[in-house]
Amino acid sequence: MQKATFTRLLLIAVLFLGQFSFAKETKEAKSEEQGTDLKTEIKDYIFHHLKDSHDFSLFSYTKENGEHKYVGFPLPVILWDEGLKVFSSSKFHHGETLAEVDGNYYKLYHSKIYKTDAEGTINYDEEHHPTNIKPFDFSITKNVVMIIITGLLMLWLFSSLARSYAKNNGVPTGAGRFFEPIVLYIRDDIARPNIGEKRYKKYMPFLLTIFFFIWFLNMFGMTPLGINVTGNIAITTALALLTFVITNFTGTKDYWMHQFDPLGKSLPWYGKVVLYIILVPIELLGLIIKPFSLLIRLYANMQAGHIVIGSLIGLMFVFKSWIGSPLSFGLAFAIMLIEVLVALLQAYIFTMLSALYFGFASEEHEHEHETEVAH
């Protein structure tokens, strides 16, 4: 019996040793092949990882005969180019070949789809930007897949939680014990103090949704699947736009009075005219700047986190000595821990600031304050 265990352990050890030697070989082969270009290769790899892609690739490796193998699955490509074109992204072969659909040729160039001729030539202008036609791209990309998965996960999770609360007369069970304090925190420490006791209920669904959506997507970004949804400026723009729209459509009369008549009754009209030439544009600019800072903050934080982790892992290949691996591992591990905190913190800040803006929009002035200023 003991002998069998020993043999098994030995077998596992040998298997792992094989892994190590394999890893070392590919590393050396890579650095010899690329020579001085290793740094640019690492940079390209990091920036490729940050981008959205048309296929869900888990990892790739180079075979002994120099052939690139990709492990993953293709996603549907949906184009609008004088008619709807739907095909699988496996036709691109990871950008190596052209995709032919109904006599049109499409080429994947830097993760973007361009229309080309049969040879796949791409024309450039003076600044080395492609001048080929870009068809409207509505593809189900990796980010879209992750958004759908997160949405379904949240739908399933919170509706099953609601059912379990109904069944157990409001006593939390299972995952509810973990999520109840978070939901209560958002209600009692974010929504109530910032929006006010009277109107906070209206905003709760949005605040909870946005918090868990951003948090879950940030946490998915920490997994080794190479997902970077909240580090995509289009997605943070959409999220900030929701906050912007809700802020302005639920704004009270006092809120709009504050935008266009910030001084109120404290000055006669002839005094206001000169001041308002400066004040009103600033107030209106503030409307745009608030959601803009929201979108930049989330995008930049997640993007920066991914770049830092990618660069630290890249250190391993730059050092080429025994010191590189533990150094890179230690630093990447520490930053990863901080990133887990940042994932929660960014979701919290986004929710907090949204609640703050909703609070500004729904405030109702105490009118005795204004009369006090007047006399």
Binding site: S293, I296, N301, Y348, I349, M352, L353
Partner: protein, 63 residues
């Protein structure tokens, strides 16, 4: 043209660092003085830090 832009971004980041450092330090002092107001101070600190941080990122992305 390239170097002044980078120097400018660096200066902005120095300013942002000093600003967030001051916020953190002041929050520490405030918590030491009034430990019972810990939650409120922390929230206000995070908001102020987040607002300043936005400027830093704007400068970094201008490079």
């Amino acid at each position: 043209m390239e170097i002044p832009v980078m120097v400018g971004a660096g200066l902005v980041v120095i300013g942002v660092g000093l600003g967030i450092g001051r916020i953190g330090g002041s929050a520490m002092e405030a918590i030491a003085r009034q430990p019972e107001a810990y939650g409120k101070i922390q929230t206000a600190m995070l908001i102020a830090a987040a607002l300043i941080e936005g400027i830093g990122f704007a400068a970094l992305f201008a490079v």
